[in-house]
């Protein structure tokens, strides 16, 4: 049971406030903001209480999404609902930010009114809600030169227009009616990988959490079929297909997915509702089908002048055709590091010392498979001792691998039925977000 819901900006501005039961005083917002900003680092912020008032909040899009409730309500339910609410707002407003919430507050009140009555959650399905929501979303897309780049010389279509711009999926779902928005459907395969590699190059931990998301802008779509690779197998023992198996440990599906063709042909059948939904989630741990895409060879020593020398060699083990983008290596350095001098192998890379997070961040915008890059960092650390070397590492690497999944999951086809009348576009995107930790050699000598 939810008593109030409010949305605050990170600075504490009231964006949305709705009181469902009229039980608690109106100052809850102020109390909440005072409490949440007064927290010290080790106090968990998710649930806070004040005089019989219990605040549960999540942070999404830089905003506080807060519900006040009674002590015996389920935290799982309330947190899931707040997350779902923010997803709904994102679906309806196009993007999630302070600005979009401010511009669409009437729409959000309308959403809240339909989704919750007297503190009880009624529905959060966008199929049901779209019948009730009347307000048009105001989208806050600023004019951008990039929009023009799709138009070639004399208006001819260029190659670029065949790739969906990254902003294509951040638009409100309902604008399609009047504004004649394109009827599009996006299928995203997102894998979150976290890998820890020991100082000897051994794989210590590897976890992949993957999901298939469908974002649908089709006004009416009765059925959609997604074909996965035939080799897709679940659990340790199952083996399918001829080639190397694509293996995951556990799979769970959205309840609307029908699985009658899944066992035989690995086809998911579903009727997507408008907006974004998670179709399938899967996990894989400890048993990566391929080697981790990067190897790091670090050398760390002190030079005679009391400086810390770090020589890092990074090799990309991807096939030469693919590339990793937005690679960022974070190297923790000893406390009190003053200045950094660097030698990087190409001009598009950059590195900087971030004193507040005590780390050197080395950024590589694009890293083609088979390449090897190296960097030399010299750090001025006053009072450098041999023990300071303990503070160096582990190195964290984060990167994106477009068009590549760690598990090898592929989408064979995407069919819509009935065939859409107008021009409709289907996009399949693969996103791999990785958090790679590589331990550097550490010794007490």
């Amino acid at each position: 049971m939810i008593s109030q819901i409010f949305i605050l900006s990170s600075k504490g501005d009231h964006l949305i406030y709705k009181d469902f039961r009229g039980e608690s005083g109106g100052d809850a917002v102020g109390v909440f903001y005072e409490k949440v900003t007064a927290l010290t680092g080790d106090q968990p912020p998710v649930v806070m209480s004040h005089k019989g008032l219990h605040f549960v909040h999540v942070r999404q899009g830089g905003l506080y999404w807060v519900a006040t409730t009674t002590a015996d309500s389920s935290p799982f339910t309330i947190i899931e609902f707040l997350n779902r609410l923010s997803a709904l707002v994102k679906d309806y407003c196009g993007s999630l930010s302070e600005k979009s919430v401010q511009m669409n507050f009437a729409l959000i009140y309308e959403l809240l009114d339909e989704a919750v009555d007297y503190g009880y959650i009624q529905t959060t399905s966008s199929d049901v809600l779209k019948n009730f929501i009347q307000t048009e979303a105001v989208s806050s897309r600023p004019f951008s030169l990039f929009d023009l780049s799709n138009v070639g010389l004399f208006g001819a279509e260029t190659q670029q227009s065949k790739v969906a711009p990254s902003s294509a999926a951040t638009r409100p779902i309902q604008s399609s009616r009047e504004q004649g928005g394109k009827s599009e459907i996006f299928v995203d395969v997102i894998e979150r990988m976290s890998v820890v590699i020991g100082s000897n190059g051994m794989l210590m931990k590897a976890d992949v959490e993957g999901e298939i998301r469908v974002k649908c802008y089709l006004p009416n779509c009765s059925e959609m079929r997604i074909g996965l690779n035939e080799e897709f197998s679940i659990g340790k023992s199952q083996l399918r297909g001829y080639g190397a198996a694509v293996r995951v440990d556990e799979v769970s599906f959205h309840q609307m997915v029908r699985l009658d063709e899944f066992d035989s042909h690995r086809i998911l059948r579903l009727c997507p509702s408008q907006g974004e939904q998670m179709v399938m989630q899967y996990q894989l741990s400890d048993d990566l089908p391929s080697a981790p895409p990067f190897r790091l060879f670090p050398t760390i020593e002190r030079d005679s002048g009391g400086r810390l020398l770090m020589y890092l060699k990074l090799r990309c083990d991807l096939p030469p055709k693919s590339a990793a983008i937005n690679v960022a290596a974070t190297i923790p350095v000893p406390k009190g590091s003053l200045s950094l001098s660097q030698e990087l192998s190409s001009p598009d890379q950059s590195a900087e010392l971030k004193p507040q997070s005590r780390a050197v961040v080395w950024k590589i915008p694009r890293f083609t498979g088979g390449m090897q890059l190296s960097a030399l960092f010299k750090l001025e650390v006053p009072g450098l001792s041999s023990a300071s070397l303990l503070e160096v590492g582990p190195v964290g690497l984060s990167f994106e691998l477009p068009k590549l999944t760690a598990t090898g999951l592929q989408i064979r086809f995407l069919r819509l039925s009935p065939v859409q009348p107008g021009p409709s576009q289907r996009w399949v995107r693969f996103i791999n977000i990785t958090d790679l930790n590589i331990f550097t050699e550490r010794s007490f000598s």
Binding site: H14, F76, Q122
Partner: protein, 851 residues
């Protein structure tokens, strides 16, 4: 938030709203209203515009209607008279052909929250219950709940309640769930909606139609249901199995809650449900939302209280990610500490070592504390890491390490050499008072082994004038006194200066009183001072406590899936996370299929053939105990703290002949055995403890005859060498709970245990507390030991006395006997004897297995 120019805005908006040109242009009208709502949600008081907004309500534009309703519902309570004007529009809307408009009107009519309007609302609400459109019925059903809460005192209309019950069969699942919700509120005084067999089965059958929110609600309401037969119970459980492993965390949690409440009489089934839910919970721990991850972690901590080994194999899932917020990292570390076992300890420590240099100081300190906890079981590996960390020379790390070492040394005295060696040079990097207090305590206690101790203390004493922290000053006094006792020549001068300063110049009463106390103590002579100050440094005999045993699920089942587990600070979890390897390896299955109470007739049979091995004194007890059947039960469970309190009452009564000073020692030393924490090691605390407890003891003496206490010796020489797990498992088989052990092979070896007895012919059950003690010493040796005990005379004396009694009693039975001390409340000799016979049987069985 106050908004500058609020009044100006109100005036401007009023002008715009009453402008006929604006009113005629729908778009402009709507935009003006939008501005009003925007200002309202920013916190500006817009109540002045109420009458203008009431006019704006009469429109065909649904968007505008909705906006105006948002406004009206916020301010209706301030303008009850004007709100009457809205009612007409609303009632007209309730007749609208469009179901959306009808539901909107009905919802807002009830949201106005005005008791004066109730009479106008009832009729449309009643019509709403029979509306064709489901969305109107949904609103109407909840509307009755709102209405009831508005006038809580009024009679409940039985007709409405009946209609709501019948709507539980509505084809729309949301209407059904809303009916449950409304009835829960309306019938709150009667304990909520009636959950009988037909309703339960109806709800269960329709569970699949509901969305996740509806399912959660239904599962929650069903917690009140009590199945009539075992078959029905298991039918329900198997029906709900799919929800238990649902990928949606809310459903999974609600189902588990329901399982735990349905199976409260069947611990084995509850434990099996916990195992089943492991997968989904672990998945929730890896959820994309960090708040969801945190919630799942907190609930995993609950589960671990009952099945410590539940997540042992999945420890890698609790490794922290680089970018995770500090509060998640700390929870993960708390879980990690509980999962340590022989196989993963190396990996775990390696991982924790990495966190010790975290940018966030709190995370780093939490990691160091976690290593210290693991150090109780794996001290060498952990000390190596801790010593290495001191080399970093960073104040927050050094402080945390020194505090951790202090706590570790208290439990594991064998670490003291390494710790003393590591202490040199720490004082330069220590900044905060907590760390300096820990260092001073260590220097005071182990002063003779740290060569630089006097110099370090001298630096502190020279700076005492500028010292701000009270704790540091108190600790400094005690440490200097202690060091003076073992190294007088080096310390005498500075002790004099310190005492002089504290007595003459110090403004704080506590510090001055303590200094005065020490000053007078020194007047009594050095031997007296030594007796007072050099108490126990630690309790090696109970060095490693095997953490608390697995708690029964019922301890925490109530708080599962509420906000409670998320709110508990680190203090609460601290006591829970007493990790130890034996604990995590302990397999809960052996006792999983036991019912709470176990009839002991089976055991009676067993011990009849073991009679010959019993000592004489227990043999006649056995003979007399066979008559009445006795059953033992673990419930209600007793926490270690409660046990300690009851046991101490007993000890204090027993030691009445001792003088009061001794009593103080007993109280304090015994409490240290259990609580393992020693925040004030100085003697003043001990005195206060005695003083504080004395009145309570007097009260207890009045009801003294209610206790009985009994000592027995049982010959079973191999018992102290058997593993704690097998002992615990064996005891649990007959429903005796063991609370604390000393590790095997140490002397004196002790076990504390308790149970409840329940005689068939006795009116009430009794509580039995017990101690098993094995000294393994020759009687004459014990005498010598008593003579040499100079510190903590009281406690040693009593123990030796007990030991001697034990020896005497078994003089004919040989030397290797385990002394059993039992305390019963209230007194019931028959039950006590029965219990003793069961206990001896268990011990004999165990020792024959070993032999």
């Amino acid at each position: 938030m106050p908004y500058l120019g609020g009044e100006e805005t109100v005036r401007e908006l009023r002008r715009a709203l009453s402008n006929p040109n604006v009113q005629s242009d729908q778009l402009r009208y709507r935009n003006t209203i939008l501005k009003v709502i925007r200002a309202m949600s920013q916190g500006v008081d817009m109540s002045g515009l109420f009458s203008e907004m009431v006019k704006a309500c009469a429109t065909v534009d649904v968007v505008q209607k909705k906006l105006v309703y948002v406004f009206l519902c916020s301010y209706a309570a301030l303008n009850p008279e004007l709100s009457l004007l809205v009612i007409n529009t609303l009632r007209k809307d309730c007749q609208d052909p469009n179901p959306m408009v009808r539901s909107l009107a009905l919802r807002n009519m009830t949201n106005l929250r005005l008791p004066s309007l109730v009479e106008y609302v009832e009729q449309p609400l009643a019509a709403g219950l029979r509306d064709r459109a489901a969305c109107v019925r949904r609103v109407a059903v909840l509307g009755w709940a709102k209405l009831h809460n508005l006038q809580a005192s009024s009679e409940i209309d039985a007709a409405v309640v009946n209609e709501l019950y019948s709507l539980l069969r509505d084809p729309d699942p949301v209407v059904m769930v809303n009916c449950l919700r409304a009835l829960e509120e309306i019938l709150k005084d009667e304990g909520g909606v009636a959950i009988n067999k037909p309703i339960t089965h109806h709800l269960l059958n329709r569970l699949k139609e509901c969305d996740i929110w509806g399912q959660c609600q239904v599962l929650r309401v069903l917690q009140r249901y009590r199945p009539q037969s075992e078959d029905e119970l298991f039918d329900i459980l198997s029906l709900l199995d799919a929800s238990l492993v649902s990928p949606h965390p809310p459903i999974m949690a609600a189902t588990l809650s329901l399982f735990l409440s349905l199976c409260s009489g069947q611990p084995a089934v509850s434990l099996a449900a916990l195992e089943r839910v492991r997968g989904p919970l672990l998945a929730a721990c890896g959820s994309g939302s960090r708040e969801m991850r945190f919630t799942a972690l907190c609930h995993i901590q609950l589960l671990l209280r009952s099945i410590p080994g539940l997540m042992g194999a999945h420890y890698k899932r609790f490794f922290c990610g680089y970018a995770e917020p500090a509060y998640i990292k700390q929870r993960k570390m708390q879980v990690l500490v509980e999962l340590v076992n022989d196989e993963n300890v190396a990996m775990l420590l390696d991982e924790l070592k990495g966190y010790c240099t975290d940018v966030n100081a709190e995370t780093a300190q939490a990691a160091i504390t976690a290593i210290g906890r693991i150090g109780r079981s794996y001290s060498d590996r952990c000390l190596e890491i801790l010593t290495g960390l001191l080399g970093l020379k960073q104040d927050h790390i050094t402080s945390a390490v020194v505090q951790t070492m202090r706590d570790l040394v208290w439990v594991c005295p064998q670490c003291s050499d390494t710790v003393c060696f590591a202490l040199e040079g720490c004082e330069e990097t220590l900044q905060d008072s907590q760390g300096r207090q820990a260092l001073l305590w260590l220097l005071g206690v182990y002063g003779e082994r740290v060569s630089s101790a006097p110099y370090t203390l001298e630096v502190f004493i020279d700076g005492v004038r500028s010292e701000a922290s009270l704790g540091v000053k108190m600790e400094l006094l005690t440490a200097t006194m202690r060091l003076f006792l073992c190294r007088p020549a080096e310390t005498q001068d500075m002790l004099g200066r310190l005492l002089h300063y504290c007595i003459e110049e110090e403004t704080d009463m506590c510090v001055r009183d303590q200094a005065l106390l020490y000053y007078r103590l020194l007047h009594c002579g050095i031997e007296e001072t030594r007796k007072v100050l050099q108490g126990r440094r630690s309790d090696p005999s109970l060095g490693v406590l095997i953490g608390r045993p697995a708690e029964p699920v019922s301890q925490w089942a109530r708080s599962f899936n509420t906000l409670e587990p998320l709110r508990q600070g680190s203090i609460e979890t601290e006591s829970v996370s007493r990790g130890s390897p034996e604990h995590t390896m302990f397999d809960p299955k052996p006792n999983a299929d036991l019912s709470n109470t176990l009839d002991c007739s089976r055991i009676e049979k067993v011990h009849s053939d073991g009679d010959g091995r019993c000592s004489d004194s227990s043999a006649d007890i056995l003979a007399s105990s066979v008559a009445a059947p006795l059953s033992l039960s673990l419930f209600p469970a007793l926490s270690p703290e409660e046990f300690e309190r009851l046991w101490l009452q007993q000890l204090a009564l027993h030691a009445e002949q001792g003088n009061e000073m001794e009593k103080g020692y007993i109280v304090n030393n015994t409490s240290q055995r259990f609580s393992l924490s020693r925040s004030f090691p100085f003697i003043g605390q001990d005195l206060w403890l005695t003083r504080a407890r004395r009145p309570a003891e007097k009260d207890e003496e009045a009801g003294k005859e209610d206790f009985v206490w009994m000592e027995e010796c049982v010959r079973c020489p191999t018992i102290p060498r058997c593993s704690p797990q097998s002992l615990q498992a064996a005891m649990q088989l007959v429903n005796i709970q063991t609370l604390a052990f000393t590790p095997p092979q140490t002397l004196p070896w002790r076990v504390y245990l308790y149970t409840h007895t329940c005689l068939d012919d006795a009116p009430h059950s009794t509580l039995i507390l017990g101690e098993l003690l094995y000294t393994g010493e020759e009687p004459q040796k014990a005498e010598v030991h008593k003579g040499s005990a100079d510190g903590g005379v009281g406690a040693e004396g009593i123990e030796d006395e007990q030991a001697r009694q034990g020896m005497e009693a078994t003089a004919d039975g040989g030397q290797e006997a385990v002394k059993v001390t039992l305390r019963q409340q209230p007194r019931d000799d028959k039950a006590l004897k029965g219990f003793l016979s069961i206990l001896t049987t268990v011990l004999h069985t165990l020792s024959s297995e070993r032999a």
